[in-house]
Amino acid sequence: MADFGTLCLLMALATAGWAMVASYNGWRIQSGELILSAERAVLATWGLVALAIVALEHLIFTDRFDLEYVASYSNRALPAMYKVAALWAGQSGSILFWVFILCTYSVIVVLLHRRRNRALMPVVVTTLSGVTVFFLLLLCFLARPFVGLSHAPPDGMGMNPQLQNPFMAIHPPCLYLGYVGLTVPFAFAIAALATGKTSDTWFRTTRRFTIVSWFVLGTGILLGGWWAYVELGWGGYWAWDPVENASFIPWLTTTAFLHSVMIEERKKMLRVWNMSLVIMSFLLSILGTFITRSGVISSVHSFTRSDIGPMFAGFLGLCVVVSVGLLLHRLPLLQSEHRLDSFVSRESTFLFNNLLLVGAAFAVLWGTLFPIISEAVRGVKITVGPPFFNEIFVPITFAIMTLSAICPIIAWRRATPHKLLEKIRIPFGAMVAATALMVAFGMRDLYALVSFALSAFVIATTVMEFYWGTRARRRATQERWLAAFWNLLDRNKRRYGGFVVHLGIVLIVIGVTGSSAFKKEASATLGRGEAFSVGRFELRLEEIVSRDTPNHEFLGARLAVLDGGHQVGTLLPGQNFYKAGQDPSSEVDIRSTLREDLYLIMTGFDPQQGRATLKAYINPLVNWIWIGGLVLILGSWFAMLPDLRERRRTAEARLRELQPHAI
């Protein structure tokens, strides 16, 4: 089976290589047969990679510990769900999974677009296959999943217990779907540059791919935060860890692209910038994959000692050279058709929003890569901690929020101050009122005040935007309020879906602000009947609980939660001691409400005296992060739904490209 898997990968390398070469030459000499052959090779590559995955999963499920990968990441007792997830627990398996997702996207692109986008498709296929070839090369020669062991151990080492969590099982696939999805817009951008067909077809065609990737990447990041929160037991959800940052950076640049592309659509401006954003997002997704898989940054050891490091560096370099070369070559074609002349216009808010987002991305990238950069420049690794990221990120977030409050009410081209003042009155009033209320209730934390005030500002503008839109439609069509509201949304899915996404982001900001500015913590070592307090809660140890399961032994402390003398619930934090000999893992218990989370960890237990050491956190408003995440998902879905208006625009764009002078 292992040999079969290796064979599949080698054959996939051959077919992907053929797809790349045939497609390129088919495009050069305009040979339909070669192009067709390349497209078929893409399908074949998908099939072969799928077979390799089936082979690896088969080996995992049949407990073949003579295979290094299976022995390292699985064991006999591992539940079936996590045996599936073992595919992406290690480096080579996750690269295999990465390739599979890329091949799947390629197949979708080929099936959807080979008839519709004949001009661009050959180069798109070449690019997608080129990326596939790189990762298959890694799999065939450097990070080989089907390597055997000379002596098979009786049982595998199993999966890290902390990864045995449903969120963790879906968090990596989500991130990968996002990372890999960014290859599709990149491929179309390269195709547009190579063919010189740089008008709007390429980004209209890939808009949905971009939104899907952006959305999945964002969901993946949130799931990772949630997992960290419920599983890792340190009371937080985000720590500016290199791997978290690696997924956040392309998300930021893609966010920037999704905004600035609207300017290109309407005004044919910022075209070089948009191309660059798509290329950057792709490069960052490759870099992110590398950082995630190699652990190179958290290690004190030199970058060059990572086995896949030089390959990745080479591939990234090649991508930079090709894309920048093409971009410079086509610069004359990418001239803006309009001038950005008014400072007070929606265009300029988009421009600043983009600068801020890309600036934020650059800051996170710089902070993340700083150990590598300092090692290269000064021969010693220097790390930068969370304070760096926070110091830069907080002001940028505030600025972006201000823009997103102003942007929807500012007119395109040139806004008249009078009109703007009229529209901004209500949202601005809401912000002032909210601030006054918070100060009256005794809030003194400056950052939190600013953050909540701006949140109120954005929410107010967004809500007013829905109201104004509905009112205008009602006046024009004489529909009833509800019908007008629904039809308004239905006809402008992108616009209003986008607003809902803004609301989701604001809720996340509110949650992050509350849980960082007003966090409380306390710890104590308690015997039975003793109590300690954190915030307004008092926690009393009722009893020590121990439970035995086939997989592990659980030892925990049951505590009564008292709020103002009344018992409002019990919590049972504890530790799992695994029979497979893995390290014990803490099981936190959380009393979660919309107002705050009471988060309790048992950090130690002294069996002689029967005393448990506990740590408690109060995380105010933390639930709003996850609620905001759901709102964000909802908004993104809505924006992704088929939109008649958009379909018409895309068809028109394509027609223009076919007959440049007809329209």
Binding site: G90, L340, E391, K519
Partner: protein, 157 residues
């Protein structure tokens, strides 16, 4: 000329934004740079005040050197890079993965008694985790459980 497509007002604000950003960047970087060294590198650089006071040091726990006092949270131990050793004190809850032989990363400064006073401690089990997502997550878990910083993700500070 590409810039002529933007009005001067916009160009000026873009430049202002970039400058503001650079200042923010410089301040942020200056305040949070920490050298990341092996035990040997750290001992060689001792006394160099130009490197700042806080350091991150990587090494392995010397087996049998972990000392704990009953009733007191934390531990004393020695860490090594294979040739030289550094005594460390840590005053917070130790992670589950902190055992004899595990790879640790400590952050802190050298105390007046010549011991390294660690404020954070990350530990990685001897053989269990590779440098993969799994290892990273385990490491992170232990780091953050121990870091005990009130606000590891605080935008406010």
């Amino acid at each position: 000329m590409a810039f002529s497509r933007f009005s001067p007002k916009i160009l000026v604000s873009v430049v202002a934004l970039v400058i503001g950003f650079a200042i923010l960047f410089g301040i942020g970087l200056k305040g949070s740079m920490v050298y990341y060294l092996t035990v040997g590198e750290f001992l060689d650089r001792q006394g160099r005040e130009d490197l700042g006071e806080n350091f991150r040091v990587n090494g392995n726990v010397v087996s049998g050197t972990i000392e704990r006092t009953p009733g007191v949270i934390g531990a004393r131990f020695r860490m090594t890079d294979g040739t030289r050793e550094l005594p460390v004190v840590f005053g917070k809850e130790t992670p589950d993965t902190f055992v004899d032989g595990s790879e640790v990363v400590v952050e802190g400064r050298i105390g007046p008694d010549g011991q390294f006073a660690a404020t954070t401690l990350l530990a990685k089990c001897p053989s269990k985790y590779e440098s993969t997502a799994a290892g990273r997550d385990a490491l992170k878990a232990s780091m953050q459980r121990q870091a005990g910083k009130a606000t590891p993700d605080s935008p406010a500070r």
